[in-house]
């Protein structure tokens, strides 16, 4: 089937999927086992959580920039009045709660489900030419575990204690002892968090088993390992990261739960003097002691470092798909990228203690983790470099997905490079727990991963809906987002280096020595420029703390920048321009063979991979792209005679 001709129509006529047409609504859309529907479910749920996380962050940023002003009505309208103090301001407790839940929601309920759950589910089987995931019912279970976990987390806002409030890392003993004065310990945000976490982890584990099995066993004819699109490779590695890194956190959550509920002391040291946070009395806890808070940190970071790669790999993978399609040229260094991602997946497991340099580790351990951390930046750089070099000499089409992908590269690069200084324990001594760290990883996750995800949404939207997203609105979404993201995170690096702690709810108001450092002299040009930002008086010396206004202002711009997207997304589903063919971007991977809005079973005829994934502008071919699924003059089916054609990538 030539992808130039339109089969979109034929797909929309429901001739090939009438059998699943009879399914009742609930089976078709709610308890569906179809990987695409599950992908949409993941996507929509995750987007909603992303917006909730965004809202929490806006409240926090208000508190940071204007700790002395009452929370404005727009923000206060959504929250329980009892959380504000009697002047209508955000309290430290509220800030802690929102901080912890912002991190949790963004990481575990927003990005990972969107990147791995939604894109992974929708794209992976299509790209390897499979009719569905290997275990469709497990796939459904995985979504519903995620949903339950999300509901549990979200419900914790509505119980009297409020949600968890001990940071997204939930370090013991502070997490174990938080909200300990509640009458019923089951009914506290901390406990809900742990239970929610256990559900989310179960979901991820089921998902990971399913993904890896699918990739290993359901590749279509001719799809050998080295013909897999890079996206699939990244999903495979991500799957292994989740599979092997999450169980220790599940254990840790379970043990913290025991500490909270039955008075065990896994993470409580002997003789912990508990000097009354909040309304809790000072004095010894009524527990045996003998446990170790460091054990929790080890178990947590054993997950959480691999988790950061779970956050970024899908985004790199999406960008890796979009770039070749929009430069009309093969990806540069496909093989090195595959090996790099495998090495990354391996090393990700042995760097975790770089988050714990300041916990009193000795030199031997520090040095080990310092070395591995520095080494792991090599594959990261290889990935980025390959993508950059790919651009060289391409005929770049600046489509909306490509814009996001292009912006992703420097943003991810910046985030990655700022990680290097942190890798050295002596520098980390200064930077640990400052805004520098916050800036470092937000550069990777926010303008990095989230840009990658937006790119993916614009890119695969026609496959999912048969319609294109509006590109004018796409531009209106992209440019403000790009500017605002940098307006938010660049000042963080500056503040961090000057010593701003990451958990100040008043933005440094009470820490004059740090907050009052001069950034720009009174009449310098930058000072004049910044005085345009609301909240900064004109004609004054710009101090470090004034950057808070820049960031908070940028947040509002970022918010406004998302409205075109929301509108575009909903509008285009129903009224967008029809995609002109099944392959509107003229791309080469197999998902573009499937009809738009693929039915149950995905493909109209058996897909076969005749060539590598990125054969653009092959000399001698008439078109500037030679899809994997087109035989053409030189296509061959590899790997049929030879059972173990190439080595497996099992991280």
């Amino acid at each position: 089937m030539g992808s130039g001709t339109s089969t979109a129509e034929s797909a929309n006529e429901h001739d090939h999927d009438d059998h699943h047409h009879d399914l009742p609504f609930i089976k078709k859309y709610l308890f569906s086992t179809d990987h695409k529907i599950i992908g949409y479910q993941y996507g929509i749920t995750a987007l909603i959580f992303l917006f909730i996380g965004f809202y929490l962050m806006m409240v926090m940023r208000w508190s940071i920039a204007s700790p002395e002003k009452p929370l404005p009505g727009i923000l206060a309208a959504f929250l329980n009045d009892a959380w504000l103090n009697d002047e209508g301001r955000v309290t430290g407790d509220l800030y802690n709660m929102f901080g912890a839940m912002h991190g949790t929601i963004m990481v575990f309920l927003g990005i990972v489900p969107l990147a791995f759950g939604a894109f992974g589910n929708f794209v992976t089987p299509l790209q390897i030419g499979a009719p569905d995931m290997a275990f469709p019912r497990l796939n459904m279970a995985s979504y519903w575990f995620y949903f339950l976990g999300g509901v549990t987390m979200f419900a914790s806002f509505f119980i009297p204690s409020g949600a968890a409030e001990a940071g997204w890392t939930m370090y013991s003993p502070i997490a174990t002892t938080a909200q300990l004065d509640e009458p019923n310990l089951w009914y506290t945000g901390q406990t809900f968090w742990l239970i929610g976490m256990i559900l989310l982890i179960s979901s991820s584990l089921l998902g990971a088993v399913n993904f890896i099995t699918t990739i290993i066993n359901l590749r279509c004819r001719g799809m050998t390992w080295m013909r897999l699109p890079f996206f699939v490779w990244a999903m495979l590695v991500t799957g292994f990261l989740l599979l092997l890194a999450f169980p220790p956190l599940e254990v840790a959550a379970l043990m913290q739960l025991m500490d909270r509920l039955v008075g065990a002391s896994f993470f409580i040291p002997t003789g912990l003097n508990f000097t009354g946070a909040g309304s809790v009395d000072a004095g010894l806890l009524d527990v045996a002691g003998g446990g170790s808070p460091l054990l929790y940190q080890h178990l947590f970071w054993f997950l959480a470092h691999p988790e950061v790669y779970v956050l970024i790999l899908p985004a790199i993978a999406i960008v890796g798909e979009i770039i070749p399609a929009n430069i009309r040229k093969p990806m540069w260094g496909y093989k090195s990228m595959v090996y790099a991602v495998m090495v990354l997946g391996f090393l990700a497991f042995i760097v975790w203690a770089h988050h714990m340099y300041l916990t009193g580790m000795g030199n031997v351990v520090s040095t080990f983790f310092q070395a591995t951390t520095v080494i792991i930046s090599i594959p990261s750089v290889i990935l980025l470099t390959c993508l950059f070099i790919s651009l060289w000499g391409g005929s770049i089409r600046f489509t909306v997905p490509m814009l996001w992908a292009l912006a992703f590269l420097p943003m991810f690069g910046f985030g990655g490079l700022t990680g290097l200084p942190l890798a050295f324990n002596f520098i980390d001594l200064h930077l640990h727990d400052t805004y520098y760290v916050i800036g470092h990883f937000h550069y990777i996750v926010a303008p990095g991963t989230i840009f990658g995800l937006f790119a993916g949404i614009y890119h695969w939207f026609p496959k999912a809906t048969g319609r294109m997203m509006n590109s004018k609105l796409g531009h209106m979404h992209f440019w403000p987002s790009l500017v605002a993201m940098n307006g938010i995170f660049l000042p963080m690096m500056i503040q961090g280096m000057s010593g701003f702690h990451r958990r100040w709810y008043d933005g440094g108001l009470n820490y004059e020595q740090i907050a009052g450092q001069v950034l720009f002299e009174k009449d310098s040009i930058f000072a004049k420029l910044l005085s345009n930002v609301p909240g900064i008086e004109s004609g004054k010396t710009i101090e470090m703390i004034d950057l808070n206004h820049v960031m908070t202002f940028s947040v509002w711009i970022l918010l406004i920048g998302q409205f075109p997207f929301i509108f575009n997304f909903i509008y285009s589903i129903f009224k967008g321009k029809k995609a002109e063919s099944d392959n509107p971007w003229k791309a080469t991977t197999i998902e573009w063979l499937a009809p738009n809005k693929p039915g149950h079973g995905n493909f109209l005829s058996e897909p076969i991979a005749y060539r590598g994934p990125y054969e653009y502008s092959v000399p001698g071919h008439e078109k500037d792209y030679s899809p994997q699924f087109e035989r053409g003059p030189d296509g061959i089916i590899l790997g049929e005679e030879d059972p173990m054609a190439e080595s497996e990538g099992s991280e």
Binding site: I216, L244, F302, A353, M361, G362, E648, S650, E651
Partner: protein, 101 residues
Amino acid sequence: MADTPEQILKDMKKYWLIGWILLGCTVLTVVVAWVTPSITIGLGIATVKAGLVAVIFMHLSDEKSLIYKVLIYTVFFAIGLMFLTLLALYDPIIAPSSRSY
């Protein structure tokens, strides 16, 4: 594994034999623990038993290479998790008082 009935019956004998060996090992562990409470011997026997279960009962003696790869990585990381956390426990930062300048 060939699936002829003869082969299957032979396997069945093998499994019973291994079962008896495992039971014997269990008795041995208890006896040894009685005589000398040595952690190494106890864990050593346990490892042998676990090995038998994995290799014979779970057919790891005859499995596809892909599964070996997955398991090697897993075991590697599991050991890494145990070993490195312990290393961190035994390598605390040097206390100032114990330094000799």
